[in-house]
Structure formats: structure tokens, C-alpha cells
Amino acid sequence: MFGLDKKDTTLLLVVAALTMLAPFLLNPFPTESGMAQFNAGYPDLMQKFVIFGIFAIGFNILFGLTGYLSFGHAAFLGVGSYAAVWIFKLFTYNVFPAILLSVIVAALFSLLIGFVSLRRSGIYFSILTLAFPQMSFALAYSVLSNPKFNLTNGETGLQVYADDPQRFHREGLPDLPHLFGLSMRSTHTMEIGAWSFDFNVGYYLCAIVMLVTFYLSVRIFRSPFGMMLRAVKSNQQRMNYTGLNTRPYTLAAFVISGMYAGLAGGLLAAMDPLAGAERMQWTASGEVVLMTILGGAGTLIGPILGAGFIKYFENIFSKINDNVLHQWFSFMPDGIEDFMVFIVHPFVGKGWHLTLGILFMLVVIFLPGGLVDGGQRIGRWLRSRGQKEDKTTGTTEPAE
């Protein structure tokens, strides 16, 4: 179906089902229960899951296929956001032109940076791409927000003011980003017993965009172009002596992944019309690298898992404070309760960076293929256990 083979079609359908049902899946605990802390089904976080999923899917096209490790993609996300907010400021709150422009601007910007950076490979390429977001951030934070020529609004971030022109804004349209009148923020809350589920327009827009981009990425992975990119990663020398010019291939991959980043930036701005300079810091690029690797670089679904994992951590673990901990352990005798809180305390709340760092190291050390690799290993282990049991019961199945 959709020009994909059976396995990929199944994967696509699974991802589609997961994203469409996310409001249910992410809110498994009743609203008032102690476990509600771990619910992630509120609009903002759901939007972040899929938007950063898009960002990571795009990054994976470059890093997963060609092996070029870029630290520059945050810059494309950032310019995408700025472009979208400028559309909001000057023309209209309609997200369609905003997102379109953010993709175009990111494409141009990544073409420029890619053209320069891809003249080198390996760590030299990484450092070159590291230089660009750092410069972009520094300039956006200060010089480009000077009163005479305020392109970025610096520290606060670019936002829409009441006195902005908004030339195509009409009465009756929402005063917030909308898609042809459908406000990104309208949410329908469904209550079933003690549970509550939020269905947010913005989330579903992002989810549909993500499905489209995911589908495109599957197509790219399975296309001759995708194979060429894998060949670049495998052996550039052989590429060259086979009559293939590697640079346009890598540049195309770089620009495509830059456009994904710009799209993610545009969507971020569409969900929340503010573009902060921190989006361009190299650590923000580092984050997408972490997502991709954590999930499994070069795999189709890995980057989405990685993005979800890190965003969940950032938003859920950072909110666990001592009061919450006391609540968890309140069934224990007081002394033990305090002790447990004392043990757990450094790893949650303000310590979430520590937990993230440790987990990240564990994944890189023990699961080089990321979470997908982990899943496959568990799958294999289960299967091999099954086979062993088969053997003991005497059935003779051909081993693989």
C-alpha cells in the first residue's frame, strides 16, 4: 500500500494508530490519582512529541543514512520559527503560509550552510556545523535584536504584538494561530469516569504533518536515493570511482533534513507564537542528536521514540518535587519514607539532567542501536526462549 512493502505499510499504520490515539495512550492514569504525575496527554507535550519527532526524523535522514554528524540543525529549526512568527506579525495568523515559509527559509539557510560545511567530512564537518548555530544564537540574542533593526527580539523571543500590521487578519478570525479559522488551541476534553482526555486541534495538525513526513522518510529510505546515501556512509571512495558525485547527494540529504527542521520550527511557532533564540544553541542541536541516537540512528521509527523519550523526561521528571516524592512513599514508615525521598531526590526534579545523562550513557554503552535495538534484542531473546522451550518439548522446528 502507498508504494510501500508490507512490512513498511504495517509500520506506517502502527505509527498512524499510535499518533491518532495518543490522547488516550498518554493519559493512562485517572486525573486525581497519584500516578497522574506520569500522564503526558496534555496538548503542549503531545505537540512537542510529534514536532520533535519530525525534527528527529529529518535529522535521521542525514545522520542515520550518510553518517554525517551535524550540530547545526538547531539553527534551521530556529530560522523556521522566526520565519513563521514574522508571517504572523506581518500578514496573518493562518499557519499555512507561515509553515510554508519556514520550510523555504530553512531550505535556503541549510543550502548555504551545507554548501560550506560539506566541503569537509568527519569531525571537521561536525565542528563547522557547530560553528553556525553558535553564531546564529549569539547574533540572534544580541546584535539582531537592536532597536533599529529588530529581527529577533533577542532575549524575550520574537512574538506578535497588538500593533503589528497583520495585513490579512480579519474580524472573526481567532486572535491566535489558526488554520483557515480553526484555532490551534481549541481543545475538546472528553471525560470518561475518572479519566480525562484532551483532543487538541494543534496536536492533530502536527500529528498529520508528522505522519506525512514519516511516510516521506520511509519512501526516501527505500528509494535509490536512500541507498546512495547509505553507500556514502559505507564507502565514499568507491562512490567516486563508480562515477557518482557524493557532494550533491550529501547536500540534498542535508537540505532535506534542514527542511524537516524548519518545518518543526514552523510548527513550534504555530502551536505557540514565540520564537526564542535558545532554539538555535548548539545544545539544542545536541538534543536532536541525542533523540536520534537514543531511539536508534538509521532506523525508521527510532528517532520518533527518542524524541518522545527525551521530551517526556524533560517535562515530566523535572516536575517531580519533594512533596510529590513524599506523597509516593507516604505508605512507608516515616523514617524509611524520608530515606527513600533522600535517595530518589537527586535524580528527579532539578536533578533530571543527571538521570538523563546516566540513562543516555547506559543506552550508548549497552544499546548502540538505541531503543529500537533494545526492542529487537528483547524480541530475539523471547523468540530464542520460545525455541528452547520448543526443543525441550521435542518439536523439531528448523532453526533460523
Binding site: 507535550l45 549569539a138 471525560e191 535558545e278 516536575k319 510529590v324 513524599h326 531526590h345
Partner: protein, 448 residues
Amino acid sequence: MSKTDVTRRGVIKTGAVAGAGLAVPTIFTASSAAAYTNEPTGGEVTLGFNVPQTGPYADEENDELLAQQLAVEHLNGEGDGGCLNTFTSKALKGNGILGKKVTFVTGDTQTKSDAARASAKSMIEKDGAVMINGGSSSGVAIAVQGLCQDAGVIFMAGLTHSNDTTGKDKKANGFRHFFNAYMSAAALAPILEKELGADRRAYHLTADYTWGWSQQESIAAATEAMGWETVNNVLTPLASTDFSSYIAPVLNSGADVLILNHYGGNMVNSLTNAIQFGMMEKVVNNKDFKIVVPLYSELMAAGAGENIKGVFGSMNYNWQLDNEGSKQFVKSFGEKYGKPPSNSAQTCYAQTLLYADACERAGTFNPCGVAEALEGFEFDGLGNGKTLYRADDHQCFKDVLVVKGADNPTNAYDTLEIVEVTPVEQVTYAPDHPMFAGGALGTCNPGA
């Protein structure tokens, strides 16, 4: 390990019973039964404390969070009641707010606009917070203030010193208890004139972002008005760690005052570097060289250590302030946590109480009602002396402290000494002052 019993399991259970079957938070919804965003329906009301738990300002957060927990205790009638005893408004009874027990949730701003908005959103969307309190930079405050305006909850700004927060970025749902760059300058100028003379040549080092510019503009205007000359203003990148190449040119510039429009780590490093270059021992134009840091905080003072001796600056509050509210607050805070409160702690504490009091007086949590109750509200007894929340721009007006690094501190907490309490009249400005122009308060948004 401190803990409050506010959200112990027992409480949660009753909350669950009370809340079962009733409406749960519906945010940003056009069609909702609630009259306003996150209308509390059970026996509890949730406040959101949005503070930088990670990143360079994490220690500031610690104090802010402690103060907010203390405020919640006092509101719920636990502890010694703190400033509820001295507050001139007697609406608060120590039985929560409007009879509802106060609980709180926390979020991490990471001192980044994006992350701060994300954590504020999670507190509003997921936890049903009716108010967001805290923060430690102007960028974050303005970003979150805009969000709260859109979402329809009240925002109490925390530590934000930029003129823009209640200037061009002011919002009807946002209030600021902290003072601002203009007030710092207005309070400092007369003292600087008295202590350093009216004939000085000033060299500015300014953090190269919005707050830095606004601070520099304010202080340059105020000092030039009394006859000082501004020799140079050099912008330094936020990411600078070593300021030697910015400090060195000061030596030969003919300036006799160095003004460091820096905050946090930037200020600690630039001041340390300036002292290293022997600035404080220099004599230029037959005058002792002086250093001014317009915005001080206790943590910056601690970070700068010995270097702050004799350096002038301004503060929103200092625990040594001698009034009933201040004494009461220092006692409550000190007995619970074993140290005096910082000025950001006091800000967050006062804001929490003020919000609660406004709800009581308005008889509702509806942000429009609360905002109306806060607008033009005059009170005393929270530590800053007599204070007014101006209706025009939601800026609070009160005395500003001019402080100086103490020459002979006796312990870790009196490294700053109060030089002067500049009366509120001197720091008041018209709402349409050019430095605050542009932008409009708009109308309050109850969400829903």
C-alpha cells in the same frame, strides 16, 4: 530535608473524592462549562511555581521555591502565619484561599523562554494551575507573561528587572512585585551624587541583550542628568566568561567610575576581573576609582565574595530592612530554613500572599476579578513597607534600597549593607514615560 504535608496522600484522597465526577481542567477551550481557565471545583486550588531548577540560576530558584512553600504553609494556616500577621489587608484567614486548601506544582524554566513556556503550559494544561509565580530573568518573565495572558491565568513575575516587563510588554494578566531598571537608576543616582560627587566620568560595560540595554539606558540617563559624563558603553556577549579584554581598556579611558550592567554569572566574573586589575585601588582624575553594580542579589554578592566591598548597587528588598513585615518574614523564613531570605525569595513570597489576598477580596479566582482587586491596591506589612500596585501598568511602587558591599561583614549574610532607603516618590515615573512606551496592557483574559 524539608517537607510540607500539603499534598500528602491523605489530602489527595479527599481531593479525589471531592473532585470525582466534576469538571476537570479545560484549557484554551472555546466551549467549556467553566467560567474561566482552571476554575477550581474541588476543595483545593493549585498554584504553579515556575522557577529555574537547572542552569546557572538554579540556586536562586532554591530560595524562591522555599519562600513559596512557606507562603503556602502560611496560607493554609500552618507554621507561625508569617506575614499574615503583619499584612494590612486582613482578608486572609489562614484557611487556604476562599476556603480551598492551597497546593502547588513546580516546573523548570531552565532560564530559557521556550522551556519556561513549556513548563508553564504543562502546569496550566495538565495540573490546572490558576496562577503562575516566579522566574529569574526578564526574557522568561515576558515570555511566560504573554502565555498567561493568552491562557487566561494570573502571572506574578518573580525576579525580572527589565523595563519592558511592565513597559512595552506589559499584559493585563501579569503583575510585577520586583522593581525595574528605571527605578534602580532613579534610586541610585542621588546616592551616587552624594557619595561620589557630581563630576564623574563613567564607563559602562553592558550585557548585550534586552535587559542589559534597558539597564544601561536608565542608569546613563539618570547619571547624566546629575552631571556625570558617559565615557563609553561597551556591549559584552552573554556567553563571555573572561572579561579581561573589556576591563583592560577602562584603565586608560580616563573614566573614574565603572558601571557593570551585568547580572548573575556575568556580574560575578566582570566584577572579579575588575578587582583583579586593581581598579578599586586606582586614583583617576584625583578621585578614588569606584565600581557600581546597578542590580544586586544576595547570590551574586556571595559569588563575588570579597570583591564587592565598597561596590554600590540597588536591591528590591534586603532582610536587614527594619519594618514589621520584614522582621516577621525574616523570623519565619530563618527559623524554618536557618538562613535569612534573599530578595527574590521575598518577592515570590509576597506575590503568593498578594495573589491569595486579591482572590479573597475579589471573592473569586477569576483572573479578571483578581486583577481588578490587585489594580491600585495599596498595602503594607509584607516587608517592603508601603506598596502600591499601579493600575496603569501593573508595576508595583515602593521604596528602593541602595546597598553597598560591607567593609567588615561579620557573617555570610551581612555582606551587603543598606546605604539608603530611597523613598517611593523618587522612583515613581509616569506610565507613559518614554522608556516604558509602546505596548498596551490590553484587557484581562479569563480564558475559557
